[in-house]
Symmetry: C2
Subunit: 523 residues, 2 copies
């Protein structure tokens, strides 16, 4: 028993298939064998098991960090141990994590954050005055003038004011009220919090939540956790992943048979699909939500990431107000933004905000109450959000550098979006819609029937099989389309366009070569 | 309608009683009247209302930031507007927020954080080498060497290693495995995550979660959110708030009639009650959990906050291992720690960790999956946690200053704990147990029957009425005992001992004067 216990301690505990159906590693199998040989007489039944656990949590799936990412981690460890592979490094193109891919932080943002963290630096001549001004303003609004105090549950007041001012500027003067701004722990926190309040009912009156397919799997995960009903509407791949209101109508009508559709989630610019919605489309969606009495969630975390010259970001809030008072005083809307995407890519700080429109005052009280249970979002993330919405302006000392850094990131992303589309479309059996925005390609891939059979033999979805092979043969980690949802019989993967240009070119070339070999092998 | 809309925008929207039963302010009543005179013809029924919302969220209560804190905020605004009060400032003794009360951050911790935030500072001669060494180590373990990248969902590897090493040292060599460490967004996040996985079943097989009364209201809030059953066990006020295992037996037996008791939550040192459990008591609790097949949650966030010379902190993990393999290989335990308390008081960074013992390997996979939906805890909070578990050691450049700062905070807290106990016990009608640990006093207060009647007339719990009066007359904000739970007919409040010594003396004197006046008034 002691040896088994020691194995367990070293992390070699007997591995049964994981939550994503991972296969046993040989080390784990060995540990398993040891346990069989020396049964632990005193080991009792565990209280918390797959059978006894919360079934809604068990049902959660989250592909972006799923089995493919675990496999990538294993391969990295093997490489570190000197095991030879056909490649020298794993390229994690599975997640929109810009700085992990080498993108440098925006200098001004980090200067302000450092000043807030260690206020002694406010006396240092090596920090610019505009950064010091921002830091002083943030600190003055913090308890004890410190990032180390809790903030109000809704977020630091002056940061909420800055967010409101940013939204007003962004939306050409449509007013925003700091009282309607809630700072959050990344956008994910805001989305799951508002969904938590919205979901109710059992049986046929369970809350239906409409989400795009393909979707960002936070939505399906939270819907599962909350035991709500996922109502799929399909984006139109033939039409650059556009949202078609007729498809919304179909989806809501069918859903009404078995649930109470109450929420409509929109991701614009799209993740994983990269489309940017036209103003007309947004108007149609708002009208539909008004007609069908749906609460709108607008996930707008990629609002700064628009690359196609024909596309522009329109916020749901702005369009809502432009549609007149019948809409602007009735449609309930929550929209989300984050420090993680855009040109700053500050994922690790977990900063974000949510703006709510037409929320019932009683519900606003409920929201603050619910948020207060977790005390407050990280204050450092709130400070990061402040710099995102309140960056240097022309005339300020740091403006030029800030502007150059921002334009460099966004310019590169635009270049990489075009490059990726062009290269994928040169590969037989791959079709890729234009990457109008966000930071992902979601190409459609042809998987020959022999490969589909091979996948079935491995009890894997065909695109999971494809992505696993891609990872094992090239070290490139992408996420199978099945993790986001896709029309039956179609296959995709999501790949970020975040690696630096030259590296991205190599990655794309490797995917191309792999794909051609894959087609040949399973022809 | 436009005027009404403008009022709504300015935050003067018509207020119905809030989630904590707040009364209408006169401005709100006025806005209400306006709305009645000019009905908004185009205003439709809202989708999200108190009636349609998630009933489990509606049922949540969270006193630490409840109506008393909202009232404190209103009073602060009034003071700012120049409205005269019998006091000049609000003293927020409602929440354990050390730095908001003037406690200075630990220099070394902030130096490392600043270096991690803005790595250009690594070249600065004004930072000590040991801080730079820590910062380099953390950054090397981060994607792209940046706090701005996502970490693994379980937390940065080297930080988990440092946590494990810390636990091993703390527990006199009992080994800790980094694989069992999960970094979290404060301790609250860890506690609610593990409870989320644990809760299942409906009807009589709903999960019962045993919590102390008085408790920290995170527990009751999460139990409500998850629709689990709260099973109260009462701490023994006559015996310095000790935990008595016979009371656990009573509680679990009674609970079995209507639910499936599966979890036992312990807070040690106690919040709000400040007791420090003896080693014997912990052994008894572990044996009871083993006997009754209960999953143990040990909330040990105050492990550095022990003041009574007769008391010592014993971790559940250590006692579990010392009880032998029958226990150490069977009892499932999760224990929690945080950057927010102790001597560092870094609440705003939302750093924390959870250590799990005997968790089924399948459940560990489920846990990582669930955590991955929120991507990762704030990386800056993880870095703060690293400094807490890996502080300067003798011989290092920063040790002396660090040691002095730490001892100063803890020494002052010990002094204030004694001061508070002594002063409260001089007041007729107040009885206060020794503050053995944590950072709160939870004195019992006598409320005369006339005051109880007055409270009932205001539809308030008697201790809420008392605390509201205290706030209105002295500016001191404390939390009524009813927010934590207490034996029927007894009344308490929770007050932090965080104000600086001289200020705390004034606060205590004011409470004393108020109490005597209160007794006279309602005699």
């Amino acid at each position: 028993m002691q040896r088994a216990a020691a194995l367990v301690r070293r992390g070699c505990c007997p591995r049964t298939p994981g939550p994503w159906g991972r296969r046993q590693s040989s080390a784990a199998a060995e540990a398993s064998a040891v346990l069989k040989v020396r049964p632990e007489r005193s080991r009792r039944e565990r209280i918390l098991t797959l059978e006894s656990m919360n079934p809604q949590v068990k049902a959660v799936e989250y592909a972006v960090r799923g089995p493919i990412v675990l496999k990538a981690g294993e391969i990295e460890l093997e490489l570190q141990r000197g095991i030879k592979k056909p490649f020298t490094e794993v390229i994690r193109a599975n997640i929109g994590d810009a700085q992990a891919m080498g993108q440098q932080p925006i200098t001004f943002l980090r200067q302000v954050m450092a000043l807030c963290t260690y206020p002694n630096l406010l006396d240092s001549p090596s920090f610019p005055e505009d950064a010091k001004k921002r830091a002083r303003r943030i600190l003055q609004a913090c308890g004890g003038n410190s990032l180390g105090s809790y903030s109000a549950s809704q977020g630091v007041n002056c940061i909420r004011e800055d967010v409101a001012a940013y939204i007003t500027r962004r939306d050409g003067g449509v007013p925003a009220d700091p009282d309607n701004i809630y700072l959050t722990t990344g956008a994910s926190d805001g989305i799951s919090t508002i969904l938590k309040i919205l979901v109710s009912g059992g049986g046929k009156s369970r809350t239906g939540v409409m989400i795009p397919i393909p979707q960002y799997p936070l939505y399906s995960a939270v819907i599962s956790e909350l035991d709500a009903v996922q109502v799929n509407y399909y984006l139109d791949e033939e039409n650059c992943w556009a949202l078609n209101v007729n498809e919304l109508r179909r989806a809501v009508q069918e859903a009404k048979d078995h649930c109470d559709p109450k929420v409509l989630c929109i991701i614009n610019p799209g993740n994983p699909t990269g489309q940017v919605q036209s103003r007309k489309c947004i108007e149609d969606v708002i009208h539909f939500a008004w007609e069908e009495k749906l609460f709108l969630l607008a996930d707008e975390v990629y609002q700064d990431n628009v690359y196609s010259p024909d596309c522009r970001f329109h916020s749901f809030k702005k369009v809502l107000y432009e549609m007149g008072p019948e809409y602007s005083s009735n449609v309930e809307l929550a929209s989300f933004h984050s420090t993680s995407k855009g040109y700053m890519g500050e994922c690790g700080y977990r900063g974000g905000y949510m703006e709510v429109i037409n929320l019932h005052p009683e519900i606003k009280g409920q929201l603050v109450k619910l948020l207060s249970v977790r005390l407050c979002p990280p204050v450092s993330g709130q400070a990061a959000m402040d710099i995102v919405v309140n960056p240097p302006v022309p005339g300020e000392e740091s403006f030029e550098l800030f502007h150059r850094e921002k334009e460099s990131v966004l310019g590169n992303l635009a270049k990489k979006a075009k490059l990726t589309e062009d290269l994928f479309n040169q590969v037989p059996g791959i079709h890729c819609n234009p990457l109008q925005g966000a930071m992902y390609a979601f190409p459609r891939i042809f998987i020959p029937s022999k490969a589909v059979e091979a996948a079935q033999a491995h009890k894997m979805a065909p695109d999971m099989f494809y992505c696993m092979k891609l990872l094992e043969e090239t070290g490139i980690c992408v996420v199978p389309g099945s993790g986001f949802g896709q029309r039956e019989g179609t296959y995709h993967f999501r790949m970020t366009i975040l690696p630096p240009v030259e590296k991205l070119k190599t990655v794309l070339q490797k995917v191309k070569d792999f794909h051609i070999k894959f087609l040949e092998k399973y022809a």
